[in-house]
Amino acid sequence: MPETFRFKSPEEIREEEIEARIKERGPEGEILGGIIFEEEEVIDPETGEKTIKRYIYIGNPYEERPLIIKLETYATKEDIEAIKREIIPMRESFEILVAMAMTYKRRQPLLIEAPTAIGKTYLAEKFTELLYGRGVKPLDFYCSGQTDVSELMGKWVPKAETEEEKRRWNEFLELSETQIQISQIAQEVEQKTWLSPEQKLNLIRTKLQELAKQAGLSERTQWQFQYGVVPKAMGLIKNPDGSFSFDEQKGEGFILHIEEVGLAEPQVIDVLLKLRGKRGQLAEEIQLWENGGRKIKSGPKFWVFFSTNPPEEYLARNEVDPALARGVVFKRMTELSEESLRLASDYYFTYKLGKKPEVKPEGCILDIYNHSDIGKEVAKVIAAFHNDLNKELKKGEKGRRQRIPLTLDDMARVADALIYNQIRDKETGRLDLTATLINLINFYYIDRLADEDLKETMKNNLKELLEGDTGKIEFEGKIITRKEIFDILVERASLPEEEKRRMKEKEEEEQRRKLEQAKNDAEDALDALLKNPNIPDSIKKLLSE
């Protein structure tokens, strides 16, 4: 059968080029792609005017055939490069970024249920920066059992004149009866459909005056409506100077991250359900009965990202509300894999993220951030210890009601403290890396434990990992403890430059000598074979060739 040929269209060639860049890896297999920046010339169909638009492409570089999402951005190429350097290229990070990009593009709300350590908040910030440029943060709202509906949607506030009046009103607001009365006002207004918007507002003001009287405020109190975080995010406009303005009808909309939504009470969930729109997208507008039924339009760039920790991380905690889960794109993720944990540890302890100190700081004996060979060994120890402790903590701790899961921040703290808080070996005068690490791990990981038995076990495990027989690993052909490895590496790194140069020359000379020796040995062996009378001439001919 004849082979069929087909020419690839320019679009197809372009797609393949983008995919190759998304999947790009460095010489050691490290991820370089995932996020790419492009500028494109766009011609306005009406005016014919040419403009340059900026785009980012996001895809999961771990996938053989990744879905790639293209989004317009305000960020510059330099911004994107800097942001990329701040993201540890773990598989889970790209899964989250791709989910964000896909749902953002389709105006679908996203809910990610994942453990604390996975970096939901951090990636929400980075995603916002990828779209708006460095330093721009999403609007953030954190739910708790105490979250009030008014914080999300809005509230009437009295223009209290004196501190005493403010205090009285705040105390009054905290009463549960007050909260009930305020929600009753909104319900009453909602039911009186025959009233005009103006009449509804008048009714609200009358009712509020009654409340003010109950709180001990003057009957002539002036009131103003303050929008909550949801309508604000729907109508925000990001100004070129970085500030925000708000327009309830013509706003662009912005990114809203509602965190720990699993902690929200049912009345808060009811309010969040108002954000559901047609065909799984976000609502195009919401109506605020608290404000006389006024409608707020949702701008084209309004997007909501909900996040929560899995129920097993809490005691006495509800799962995500099923109605909310149905109304969003729901993604459940598990713990970071051990591979990702090792990758993160390697990035932290080789100081690949962000800038390294330009001058050796006070308290720093050895500029460990310039010695990635040491960092790589430390990273292995921390990743192993972190993983072990995390497994123990998941079982819950004796003597503590709250659970304290580990996060990648714990590693990041040890990595940074390792620069500034080093202990000197009194005998050698060099950095005592083992003692320093034990000290910092105790401070950042072990001191938090309430369970004394677990504390003792983890201290012993750490000692065994660093100095015991079971912690021994192969290093340069020998089986030795991590402490011994650290001592060797620190000694090498602490040598004066002249000494290091001499050592390197000596090593190279040794290598050359070994190569020469190997070559001579091979020649001798060949010579011996050629002189061997038992070997046929045909073989000898082949050997000499």
Binding site: E86, I87, E125, K137, S144, Q146, N170, E259, R400, Y420
Partner: protein, 155 residues
């Protein structure tokens, strides 16, 4: 009180910035059940090391006043010693979380701005002080400890 421990705690708060965003931690000082130490004594010890402002969050505290005090302390490059004596309200928790995640305050409709954002200066830090029993039994937010980096436990 172990002054060396307190010094290490302050030093780590001052120096350590978490990769990759170079964020400073919030610090937590916990008074354990057997401890005789009072918040004022700790505050006075910390005051000998850094320029710090004390804020007491108790039944009489109003959130917006607390925010004002914190912002003013930041404007004066001061540290904050926030003594928690009542369960943390949702608005304060929101700001503490924002401080922990981004080292900044984010308030709506504040000082004439739709979104008011102010960064914690490099020379300021926040230390929260609370009793262990109070944290375990009165604070309803289940992830309270995760707001903090270094924790100093006063036995």
């Amino acid at each position: 009180m172990d002054k060396e421990q307190l010094n290490t705690f302050i030093l780590l708060l001052q120096n350590v910035r978490k990769q990759p965003s170079r964020i400073f931690d919030l610090g937590l000082i916990v008074k354990e059940p057997g401890s005789e130490l009072q918040a004022d004594e700790i505050f006075n010890e910390v005051r000998k090391i850094v320029d710090i402002e004390q804020i007491i969050y108790d039944e009489t505290a109003i959130d917006e006043k607390v925010f004002e005090k914190i912002i003013k302390a930041f404007e004066g490059n001061k540290w904050i010693f926030l003594e928690i004596k009542k369960d943390i309200s949702s608005p304060l928790l929101n700001q503490l979380k924002h401080l922990a995640n981004y080292n900044s305050f984010q308030l709506l409709d504040y000082r004439g701005k739709d979104v008011f954002e102010t960064k914690m200066p490099e020379s300021s830090r926040v230390i929260v002080f609370a009793e262990r029993d109070f944290i375990e039994n009165k604070i309803t937010y289940p992830h309270f400890y995760t707001l903090f980096g270094p924790v100093l436990s006063l036995e």
